[in-house]
């Protein structure tokens, strides 16, 4: 099997992209380490308040002209961006594997979903059409014009460094707004490449800006009076207690997509052959660092024979997962993003043992292919006899740890899911339509899977979320993103 060539050679220096210029930051510079190889692959700035302010000012200055640019003309820039992304598809994907650790199939999937959002936003001339009523009163007409608002901030997470900013960015600029993106400083390279391609596509200076960094940049966005709205993907404490709260205080629109503890509910009538691989990708894909990853496997029914044979299949396939560098095409699971995240996951495994769960598969000392340092690797881990009250059964671990619970009936299973504070992406595996219907009707979850282990909505559907998994009203992607990035201006007209 081939090991694919790395697109980044040596040490790459990340710059900010402000007002159409690539500028060095005056902030502290931090190393970015490839989590699989342990090698420093680049340097990323922790930008200053002055730098985020400069980006917002550039975006504000660019807004009037960009807004005045016709939707068709704006769309043509997005069509060029789409073409450039296709041309550079493989490079962009491999960068994600280098910076994040995910396998190449996963990176390509991320690239594709990002591009799909650009494609959907290319429909903006029709997507942002208003509506009109003649004679709402005698001789009076009324209509709505969706209007852009100004400068938006987009705060990206570490787990999908390329795709997640694209849940927002293309819709924001297509509707006539200008943007400032803050990538995660742990994974800045694919956003830097995206900005290079956006520049090549022909966005005017100031329309698309990127400022790298951490809390200072986020605070700068939250405090800035000229930022009208923010989209954020990250943890629930930050999303709820910082982003959502402060956007409320400062009158900004907000989409805060947050944490999760997703349940995969398995019925005894499921198609086992197809369900087991779906469990693998759900729990262990992206090394479990997905807000849509399976976290709790909830097996329904008293049938111990089914339970034992199903778990034998799951544990057997999990134990054979090949772990290593994602650019090796044979590898099925890469590392987690960094040592701190690995240590946190290890901590949860210890907690699970202390709570009395049975460790069916221990991922603490994984076999890593290729002689790589094991600093950031955690193997697939399976706990059985987990209860909903245990911390490993209720808290977000964000790693390749499967907690297995049991419920006597589907009703009990749904209750267990709904008692959990999160509601991001629960799924049921069954061949019974009635069970599936009951599940989708009663479950409190923004995204619901029926025989789908990762319930990731395609670009023309909203990426939803409920309870502690989402704070806001409208969502990213598709029509809801178009509504989020526009204000409904109502015109009522009478002629004398």
């Amino acid at each position: 099997m081939a090991i694919l060539e790395e697109p980044i050679k040596g040490i790459k220096e990340v710059k900010n992209y402000i007002n159409g210029e690539w500028v060095d930051s005056k902030g502290k510079i931090v190393d970015v380490v490839n989590p699989a190889t342990g090698k420093v692959m680049g340097k990323c700035p922790v930008s200053t308040k002055e730098e985020i302010n400069a980006a917002v000012e550039a975006a504000k200055a660019a807004f009037p002209d960009w807004r005045r640019t016709t939707p068709l003309a704006r769309t043509r820039v997005l069509f060029r961006l789409k073409a450039l992304l296709e041309e550079n598809f493989e490079e962009v994907s491999r960068i994600q594997t280098m910076e994040h650790g995910k396998c190449i199939d996963e990176s390509r999937g991320e690239t594709r979903r990002g591009i799909e959002n650009v494609e959907v936003s290319c429909g903006i001339p029709t997507l942002m059409q208003g509506y009109y009523s003649e004679d709402i009163a005698s001789g009076i007409d009324e209509w709505v014009i969706p209007s852009p608002l100004g400068v938006f901030g987009i705060i990206g997470p570490f787990n999908f460094p390329f795709m997640i900013p694209l849940w927002s960015a293309p819709y924001a600029v297509a509707t006539g707004n200008t943007i400032v993106i803050k990538p995660s400083s742990e994974v800045p390279f694919s956003q830097m490449r995206l900005a290079e391609l956006a520049e090549e596509a022909g966005f005017p200076p100031g329309v698309w800006n990127v400022v790298n960094g951490g809390r200072t940049v986020v605070d700068g966005m939250l405090e800035h009076k000229d930022i009208v709205g923010i989209t954020f993907v990250g943890s629930t404490p930050t999303g709820r207690d910082v982003i959502y709260k402060r956007c409320g205080e400062t009158g900004k629109r907000v989409i805060a997509q947050c944490g999760a503890k997703n349940f995969m509910v398995v019925m005894p009538d499921c198609n086992v052959k197809a369900t087991v691989p779906a469990m693998m990708t759900s729990f262990f894909g992206n090394a479990g660092q997905r807000c849509l990853a399976g976290a709790n496997l909830l097996v329904v029914g008293d049938d111990n024979k089914f339970y034992n044979s199903f778990m034998d299949e799951v544990a057997g396939m999990s134990s054979r997962i090949k772990i290593g560098y994602g650019l090796d095409e044979a590898i099925q699971m890469g590392p987690v993003r960094d040592k701190e995240k690995r240590d946190k996951i290890m901590g949860y495994i210890e907690i699970g043992l202390k709570e009395g769960a049975k460790l069916r598969l221990d991922g603490r000392k994984p076999k890593v292919e290729g002689g790589l340092p094991d600093t950031c690797f955690v193997g697939p881990t399976i706990f059985e006899n987990v209860t909903p009250k245990m911390r490993i059964g209720s808290e977000e671990i964000f790693g390749p740890v499967m907690s297995v619970l049991r419920a006597k009936t589907l009703d009990e299973a749904i209750q267990i899911c709904n008692d959990n504070p999160f509601g991001n992406g629960h799924a049921i595996f069954t061949q019974n339509g009635r069970s599936a219907r009951d599940f989708q009707y009663n479950i409190v979850s923004g995204n619901v899977g029926i025989n789908i282990g990762i319930v990731a909505p395609v670009a023309f559907f909203p990426f939803s979320g409920m309870k502690d998994s989402f704070f806001g009203v409208l969502h990213t992607q598709g029509q809801e993103a178009v509504r989020f990035f526009t204000e409904s201006k109502v015109i009522i007209q009478r002629w004398f």
Binding site: M1, P277, G285, E329, Q332
Partner: protein
């Protein structure tokens, strides 16, 4: 190491198509009588690579089981880039037939393993196999003539 990932399966199919294209190009040089047919086969291979890669890159979103969809042994699907040295026309055709059967077997197995998991990829494996299966009677007819 076995192949479990879609990336690995796509690379293996690309390798088989490229190697078998080289095989037919070599065959066309050695046995000019049926040159046109062999060069047509070689050209078709490039189209099959494009067809399968398009399907793969089009559907490989984060929602499918790309890393867990296959269980293939690449050793079972090694294809030679040329007929055996000094092979007679009949023997070279027999080698071509054996190669085609191996490739058809690959597409059948890969499609079956991934049929619930990889959306358009298994469908395109099957479509390519169907198109390729036309070669078998053509090669057999040539073999009958060569006997």
């Amino acid at each position: 190491m076995g192949i479990s990932t879609c990336s690995g399966a796509i690379s293996l199919s690309r390798e088989m198509e490229n190697e078998s294209a080289k095989f037919y190009q070599e065959l066309s040089k050695r046995f000019e009588k049926d040159k046109e047919l062999f060069l047509t086969f070689a050209k078709e291979n490039a189209k099959y690579v494009t067809q399968i890669e398009r399907a793969y890159y089009g559907v490989i979103t984060d929602a499918i089981e790309g890393c867990f969809a296959f269980d293939l042994n690449p050793e079972d699907y090694q294809v030679k880039a040329a007929p055996s040295k000094d092979a007679s026309y009949s023997n070279a055709l027999k080698e071509a037939l054996a190669m085609e059967e191996k490739i058809l077997n690959f597409y059948g197995v890969a499609a079956e393993q991934s049929k619930h998991l990889m959306a358009d990829v298994p469908r395109n494996f099957t479509l390519v196999a169907k198109k390729r299966s036309d070669r078998v009677p053509k090669l057999k007819a040539l073999l009958d003539q060569a006997k």
